[in-house]
């Protein structure tokens, strides 16, 4: 057993079903500061721990708007305000010709927002995280399913929490040191 502060208790399960069941149980027991770790996206797990809402879509919308407005106003400013030219007798403000670039800028803004927004919200890149200290955690990216209740949770206590977790009969329970 490790001395020193503990990040949380980590339970390892063989199947997603067990994991979800355990996660629900822990949630019902009032635990909030916890997380599940799975080798592939598992919606049920997210719902179980009450984390199925996020603000990515909003960020993307904003990105799209910025891209669109930025793109069009650049074209307008360049061709009408800053350096108007008679190009083949066409109007300075040839809006139909400005649409494609506007569209592309919107998509570009949205996509960048989506990716970097997602990473930011996830706090990635994050070189170090305590859960990696769990001995068998490498299998979280392979074929094992983990539930970790964090010591930050007010209800957290090594013994009670361990008891609770044991009730879901996991493969193994480990204390995750910082």
């Amino acid at each position: 057993m490790t001395a020193g502060p503990v990040y949380g208790l980590m339970a390892e399960f063989e199947t997603p079903t067990e994991l979800v069941h355990a996660a629900k149980g822990a949630y019902d027991a009032g635990y909030r500061k916890m997380d599940t770790y799975t080798p592939y996206p598992l919606e049920e797990a997210a719902e179980a721990i009450g984390a199925h809402h996020n603000r990515v879509s909003l960020i993307v919308l904003i990105g799209a708007m910025l891209g669109m407005i930025g793109g069009y106003s650049l074209e307008y400013w360049v061709s009408v305000v800053n350096y108007p030219l008679n190009v083949g007798g066409k109007p300075f403000h040839s809006w139909p010709a400005f649409i494609p670039v506007t569209f592309e800028c919107a998509v570009l803004g949205a996509s960048l927002a989506a990716v970097f927004g997602m990473l930011a919200l996830n706090g990635l890149p994050q070189p170090y995280h305590p859960v990696f200290n769990a001995p068998n955690f490498v299998r979280a990216s392979r074929d094992r399913f983990f539930l970790c209740i964090e010591s930050q949770d007010p209800r957290f206590s090594i013994s009670d929490t361990r008891k609770l977790l044991e009730s879901f009969n996991p493969e193994e329970i480990t204390e995750v040191p910082y």
Partner: protein, 1034 residues
């Protein structure tokens, strides 16, 4: 761009660098042999390998011109290698220390950056074209016609335009040579003086001079003086393109040598008997004649229009403009002339004619009879003397003499028949009677009648001296070679076709060691060292021994001509003696016609890159001469033809072996619509074995089969079709208009019935004031654009004779690059204005139309919106500007240009050999007002924007609007027929406004709504209703 292989040079790509000259070890060997400081001079002599010499002269920067050589990277690597080996050498030949100094006393009237114009004249084989020459800081950069001179009226031909490039040609002979070794001029003078001394004793027996046709009064006077000192001396004449038939003809009919002067302005009906008076300089007075003739076809006042009948044996631009063109074999023209003469009351007998010929003769005769005194019969320079005699007789019978034609004493000094003259010289040489031969200009070894074997005879002469601006074939046979000064380098004088004398004043000191004929001749009149200025002035003093000579001289030099000096009209009576019996013509024998090349003349312009790349008016090929035959013969001989006889998509032509009087020459055939059957036309001037970088290895040498007996036409040639091909660089692939009507044309009756025949498809044309439903385009007029000036151009298709002068003028004015044969084959020619040639009707005798196409300067220019960088945009005056330094070269604009008038620098064309930017001499010739375009940049016609700007500056300085006619574009200025009109279309009483508001005006591709500023005036033909069609469909 040259090569040494002779047998058939054209099978070798013209832009190949002679590999032999790049052998590294030979270079090293020569370096090893070379000793001391003077070795690079000896090196050059050691190696006759021209390119090696070039390499030396070039040193390093000229490698750049290799970069742009499009063909072989290999040759570049070789050259690079050689230059490495030469590194040490290049070190030795570093430039001498040169100091540049500001003007201590600024020459008066020189304002740096402001051009000054000087009047002068260009002597051209027995007559002269009066010129104004534009000079920048005393460097001649552009040639214009002398507007005050009756022979020019401001226009020129393409040779005058291109002559400026000859002045700066780096391949001109640089120094005096004795037996191929460089010598000082003084040495040559000494040698000649001792010879002169020797000759004095023998009265000059054995002294012979050979020149071309000369019209210089001073020269004539000098020659007289020489003959006074040396009574036994003889002066022979030889011009390969001479006027022998005309001379003989006038002797026959008029009893002496006279030059006919035609007044086309007074002629309502013109009949041309193989007379090519609308083609170019070889018809003396072409510039003035073309203008007068076309003035009669403008239709701007009333519906009157002259009518042109042409009977010709080889397609020419004159035939192309004919209202009725009759295709004849060369020998048939005389017969036709006899028949016609008989009809108009000249007693003569003729052989029988074919039905179309007979019809034609009847109709023409009737017309002539109906227009006594207002008609004109013009005989062709290249026809038999009889034709000339008959023409004189007919004009006399029709009372035209004094009305439409008059006669003056020959403009050529001491006129002779050249064929006769040169024959005498050769026989004298063979008889060993000639000790000293002075060849002033010309290249007889190359172009003398082949059967005279001039070079053999030349070997028998003890002392041979040549004055020539290039080292040519003759140079190999002479002892002394003296470089000749260009006409812009030396004082002289000359007479234009109508006898008006001009003082030729030089614009610049001789760039090389050039001497004028006057200076050379002075040695024989004991005036050694007298400058040609003094010689010329002394002569004219003798003509004007008045007190005010100084003023008179100044005025004459300033005006560019001696006032009231036209030769007096001679009263002649044409009495037709017995004509020599016409040569019996075998209808099945193949007849040969020799013609000067449309762009390089008799070969004297072969090293002129501009002219080499100017398409021949009818065949549109460049860098070569072709042999024209009729499409029918081509089929008969099983030569490859596309289904459309007018289409030359393929640019590889089979080689024919032409055998004439036992001599053979290999020529690329060209199926020319409108060419007579059983006949072949060979063009002179190409295939020179010893010439500059540009001319080397181009074309075939027609002189090889041109005997004295048949200078222009002969019968009984044998044609043998070989299996080999000859690459022809054609600038126009397709010669038929198909269902499109780029050229709109109607007959005079149709025109009178329906003035706006050019607008049959009104529905296709956008309306002039489109409203919102028709267009989303804004009215830029409302934004105050095009308000001040709106530049526009109108091109009269009726007047254009396709002489190509505008193309060359544009090239000279706008520093347009030359790209070379291989690039033209790839379709990358650069000339900004092209003259499209269209054939309509049967290939046997089609109607031919010319259409000059510069940039249309569309108001709704399709090229502009597609440019990603805004490198081509509109100016407030409606010009479609091209911003060179902004252009990145996507070529999208060219793709989107429906007129395809844009030109692209696929390589560093501005550095192509021949017009490259490293050769110092060539730098001088460029127009400093026009940017030299670099690689990867699009370019096109700018309406000579530099001239517009110059005029605007002038106008703004004295706070006025630009006056009508103040700006002339280069193409407009040079056009002999005033076909091109340019100006401000906002100005309601400008010529261009009027031209644009004639009912005949139409827009090219109007249906695209590009609203071009360049518009056309539709052509009108004036066929004789009695002859069913404009051109006899044979």
């Amino acid at each position: 761009m040259s090569n040494t292989s002779d047998s058939n040079p054209n099978l070798v790509s013209v832009s190949e660098i002679k590999p032999a000259s790049m052998q590294l070890d030979t270079v090293r060997k020569k370096l090893a042999e070379a000793k001391g400081p003077k070795y690079w001079r000896t090196l050059e002599e050691l190696s006759n390998q021209q390119a090696f010499g070039e390499l030396l002269e070039r040193e390093f920067p000229r490698q750049a011109s290799e970069w742009v050589d499009p063909v072989s990277r290999r040759s570049f690597l070789k050259l690079a290698g050689a230059s490495m080996a030469l590194a040490g050498l290049a070190g030795c030949t570093k430039q001498p220390l040169e100091q540049i100094l500001p003007y201590v006393r600024q020459p008066e009237q020189l304002v740096p950056g402001k051009p000054i114009f000087y009047a002068t004249a260009m002597p051209f084989h027995g007559h002269a074209l009066p010129l104004l020459v534009e000079t920048h800081e005393f460097r001649p950069t552009k040639v214009e016609g002398n507007p005050q001179h009756q022979a020019s009226m401001g226009a020129t031909d393409l040779f005058a335009q291109a002559s400026i490039l000859n002045l700066y040609d780096p391949d001109r002979s640089p120094h005096v040579e004795y037996m191929g070794e460089g010598r000082a001029w003084a040495e040559c003078v000494l040698a000649l003086q001792s010879e002169v001394a020797a000759l004095k004793s023998s009265q000059g027996a054995g002294l012979r001079f050979l020149t071309g046709a000369v019209s210089s009064p001073t020269f004539g006077a000098q020659m007289k003086a020489v003959q006074r000192i040396f009574p036994q001396a003889k002066w022979h004449r030889w011009d390969p393109v001479n006027r022998d038939s005309m001379r003989a003809g006038s002797k026959m009919a008029l009893g002496g040598y006279y030059d006919p002067i035609y007044k086309f302005a007074n002629a309502a009906v013109v009949v041309s008997l193989d007379a090519d008076f609308l083609s170019g300089a070889w018809f003396p007075g072409f510039v003035r004649y073309a203008r007068d003739f076309m003035r009669g076809r403008k239709l701007d006042t009333g519906d009157q229009m002259n009518r042109l009948y042409v009977a010709e044996s080889s397609p020419s631009t004159t035939g192309a403009k004919a209202d009725h063109r009759l295709v004849l074999r060369p020998s048939e023209v005389e017969n036709l002339a006899r028949a016609l003469a008989a009809k108009v009351g000249v007693a003569t007998a003729s052989g029988r004619l074919t039905d179309p010929q007979q019809k034609w003769v009847d109709a023409v005769a009737a017309e002539l009879a109906a227009h006594k005194g207002k008609c004109l019969v013009v005989p062709g320079e290249f026809q038999t003397p009889a034709v000339h005699a008959l023409a004189h007789a007919m004009n006399a019978a029709l009372g035209n003499i004094g009305q439409t034609v008059s006669y003056i004493d020959p403009v050529e000094v001491d006129a002779v028949e050249h064929g006769q003259s040169v024959r005498e010289l050769v026989s004298d040489m063979n008889a060993g009677k000639v000790d000293t031969l002075i060849i002033l200009g010309g290249n007889p070894v190359y172009n003398a009648p082949v059967d005279l074997e001039f070079e053999k005879a030349l070997d028998k002469v003890k002392l041979r001296v040549q004055l020539s601006n290039y080292k040519n074939e003759t140079t190999d046979y002479v002892h002394w070679h003296v470089p000749e000064a260009h006409y812009l380098e030396a004082w002289s004088d000359a007479r234009s076709y109508d006898g008006t004398a001009s003082i030729i004043q030089p614009m610049i000191m001789p760039l090389y060691d050039g001497k004028s004929a006057h200076e050379l001749l002075a040695i024989f009149t004991d005036q050694t060292g007298t400058s040609s200025y003094d010689l010329v002035q002394t002569y004219w003093k003798s003509q004007h021994p008045t007190a005010d000579f100084e003023a008179w001289w100044r005025r004459s030099v300033h005006d560019g001509f001696v006032s009231d000096s036209p030769a007096p009209v001679r009263q002649v009576t044409a009495k037709l003696g017995s004509l020599p019996a016409p040569a019996p013509a075998d209808p099945n024998a193949i007849e040969v016609a020799f013609r000067p090349d449309p762009t390089i003349y008799d070969g004297s312009f072969i090293n002129n890159a501009w002219l080499q790349e100017t398409p021949k008016p009818l065949s549109r090929n460049t860098w070569d001469n072709v042999a024209m035959i009729s499409p029918k013969m081509a089929k008969a001989w099983g030569l490859y033809l596309l289904e459309d006889d007018n289409d030359h998509q393929s640019d590889a032509q089979r080689i024919l072996e032409v055998e004439f009087q036992g001599r053979k020459v290999e020529v690329p055939y060209w199926p020319q619509p409108g060419h007579p059957d059983n006949a072949i036309t060979l063009f002179l001037g190409y295939g020179q074995t010893k010439t500059g970088r540009v001319g080397a290895g181009t074309g075939y040498n027609a002189y090889k089969v041109r005997p004295a007996s048949a200078q222009y036409l002969g019968s009984g040639a044998k044609i043998n079709v070989t299996k080999r091909y000859w690459d022809i660089a054609v600038t126009q692939g397709h010669f038929s208009m198909d269902d499109r009507e780029p050229v709109k044309v109607a007959t005079l009756e149709e025109f009178i019935k329906n003035k706006s025949f050019a607008h049959e498809h009104k529905e296709e044309e956008p309306d002039d004031q489109p409203g919102i439903p028709e267009t989303l385009y804004p009215k830029y007029e409302d934004k105050d654009w095009y308000k001040d000036y709106a530049w526009g151009m109108s091109i009269d298709l009726n007047s254009c004779v396709g002489c190509q002068a505008c193309a060359v003028a544009c090239q000279s004015e706008n520093n347009i690059s030359v790209v070379g044969k291989e690039q033209v084959q790839r379709g990358r020619e650069m000339q900004w204005i092209r003259i499209d040639t269209y054939y309509e009707g049967s290939a046997a005798n089609p109607s031919v139309y010319f259409q000059p196409v510069p940039c249309m300067q569309c108001e709704n220019a399709p090229c502009e919106p597609v440019c990603p960088v805004g490198a081509t945009v509109h100016s407030t005056e409606g010009l479609n500007d091209m911003v060179y330094n902004r252009c990145v070269g996507t070529r999208y604009c060219s793709n989107n240009c429906p007129y395809k008038v844009r030109r692209f620098n696929f390589f560093l064309f501005s550095n192509m050999p021949g017009t490259d930017w490293d050769t110092p001499s060539l730098k001088l010739g460029r127009n400093p007002d026009v940017t030299v375009r670099s690689r990867g940049v699009m370019e096109k016609c700018t309406y000579c924007v530099q001239r517009i700007t110059a005029a605007r500056i002038a106008a703004e300085k004295d706070d006025r609007r630009i006056k009508e006619g103040e700006i002339k574009t280069a193409c407009q200025q040079v056009c002999p027929t005033e076909a091109i009109v340019f100006g401000d279309i906002n100005n309601k009483d400008s010529a261009v406004y009027r031209a644009k508001n004639t009912p005949r005006r139409y827009d090219l591709l109007a249906e695209l709504n590009t609203r071009p500023r360049t518009t056309y005036v539709a052509a009108v033909r004036n066929p004789n209703p009695k002859l069913e069609s404009g051109t006899e469909k044979a």
